[in-house]
């Protein structure tokens, strides 16, 4: 494993792993979708995951907050090992924010209500305080003026930024992104990527599934390439893009670049 020389905002990549995945396997019925996944993510590290469609990228990051269950191996998030214990799952979900390809905003609630919901009902925060925090993050993603609108009235890029703000309102220590820009028109991709770059600069631990190689080059500490349920290659972005080791990586890179 290559340690990157990139550092986060306060100038250090801490050694304590935020996420540790050891020998993890997952099956969908008979189908062996993830095979022997090993991954350790330090605090403040930014990891980009790429690979062909169906290679198991989504499944892997969805195992981290237990949207999918793994059958073998260990996943330890911020010192808590994931198992069937609902309390642990809840604790981990509070620590881990997730942004989806199709935003998944709640269409019956306003933008601000989308942001406040979890702080109020999960963190038991008073409504006033939750709203203040909601507005703060909406300002950070640069759409405070849309707070009273419904998600259906916003553009795709705006919706995705609301989704990021909604996750941040829970003050997570880890953010997972599953192809956050692939449902967006080109002109909106930029605004979402800028939001994510700012988040990275603030020192957030991030795992991002994306095919935006420009983003990977500027932001990632490490790039992971997956194929057929396995991690095939793992390297710092410079080496990954300039000198891929495996043939499958080369083929994949030649197809998307």
């Amino acid at each position: 494993m290559t340690k990157s020389d990139k550092t986060d905002a306060d100038g250090s990549v801490s050694d304590r792993p935020m996420i540790e995945i050891k020998g993890m396997h997952k099956w969908y019925g008979e189908f062996h979708v993830l095979k022997d996944i090993n991954l350790s993510v330090a605090k403040g590290e930014r990891i980009v995951v790429c690979g062909p469609s169906g290679s198991g990228k989504s499944t892997m990051i969805r195992c981290i907050n237990r949207l999918e269950e793994h059958q073998k191996g260990k996943i330890i998030v911020d010192g808590i090992e994931l198992n069937d214990d609902l309390k642990r799952i809840d604790r981990i979900r509070r620590e881990v924010g997730m942004v989806f390809q199709h935003f998944n905003l709640f269409p019956h609630l306003t933008v601000l209500e989308n942001c406040c919901l979890a702080p109020i009902w999960v963190r038991k925060m008073p409504r006033r305080k939750a709203e203040a925090i909601g507005m703060e993050y909406l300002e950070r993603v640069k759409i405070p003026e849309q707070a009273k609108k419904y998600p259906g009235q916003l553009s795709g890029g705006q919706q995705q930024r609301v989704a990021i703000a909604r996750s941040l309102c829970m003050s997570p220590s880890i953010m997972l992104f599953d192809e956050p820009t692939s449902a967006l028109d080109p002109e909106m991709i930029k605004e979402v990527l800028e939001t994510m770059i700012e988040l990275a600069e603030s020192g957030m631990t991030m795992i991002v599934v994306t095919h935006e190689m420009g983003f990977a080059k500027t932001v990632a500490n490490r790039v992971i390439f997956m194929d057929e349920g396995q991690i095939i290659e793992e390297n710092d972005p410079e080496s990954f893009f300039s000198a891929p080791e495996h043939d499958r990586t080369k083929l994949f890179l030649s197809q998307i670049m």
Binding site: L67, R93, M98, N104, V122, Y150
Partner: protein, 365 residues
Amino acid sequence: MINNDSLPDLPPPRTSVGFIGWLRNNLFPSPLNTLLTLLALYIIYLVVVPTVSWVFLNSDWVGESRDACTSGGACWVFISARFNLFMYGFYPESEYWRVNLVFAILALLLVLLHIKQLPRRGWLGAFALIGYPIIAFYLFSGGIFGLEKVETSRWGGLSLTLVLSGVGIVASLPIGVILALGRNSQMPIVKAVSIVFIEFWRGVPLITVLFMSSVMLPLFLPEGTSFDKLLRAMIGIVLFESAYMAEVVRGGLAAIPRGQYEAAKALGLSYWKSMSLIILPQALKLVIPGIVNTFIALFKDTTLVLIIGLFDLLTTVEAGFKDSHWLGYALEGYVFAALVYWIFCFSMSRYSQNLERKLHTGHAR
């Protein structure tokens, strides 16, 4: 030749717009259509003229007994003379105010609950769902605070219809929601119980349910336990309708994209919180037409309680024209009953359309 000046806007030809244009396009576009239009007009004429004459022109409106009905058209005197029977059944006349009060409070609550700016609307809603039914029950049945006791067998008419359908509507929706969630549950026992319950009640006709509840249930109960007939009918209706409601709600749940469940989970919301805050508000909104449809069906189904000897609106109307003083006025009775049912059902339907518009948040599916 190319014309470089922009052409002025001209009015369309007279024959294609306005009333004349509409007539030409829709009623008389071809000889065959003209023939059909004339035929349809003739049929409407055949139906409408005698109806209007029977209902309005040749009808009798004032009087005390059938002697007042001399014009040969509808005898609305029958309705006005027996109006109290149709509204209150055999409820003692001196106690009518109690029934009136119950419905007056209900109307007041409904109005207040629709005022957005009202402070503490949540508490008022809770009162409407919990406190009000208790008050309504004691006002109806009496027996406390010196109110005369009125047995449920004396309740009747429109007020009984409203009590039955009100209880049915208020109870079947939450039970239906629970059953729908149960049917979608990951827990095998909960799922199985819900499926068996829903399929059992959907599989038997309501008339059988009512009949069994009044004839069979007492056979299973220990001797001497009396179990109010109205209460049994209510339970039968509620169980029956909640099975239907469950399937309507399940349709709504199925239409919610998986991403909504996942987003709720990812934010750390528990099962009940994600259901009550995220999934159900959307699912119920989607199936408002189906829910109201079930409510309307329920409202009309309450007429079936006549087979177990309860006197709802329709039964009191029938009792009215079977009375020897009023023999022969069945048509007036049925028209009146139909009108009352129609007014309530149509109001529900309009209200649901209103609600749908109000709850629309610009999210195109």
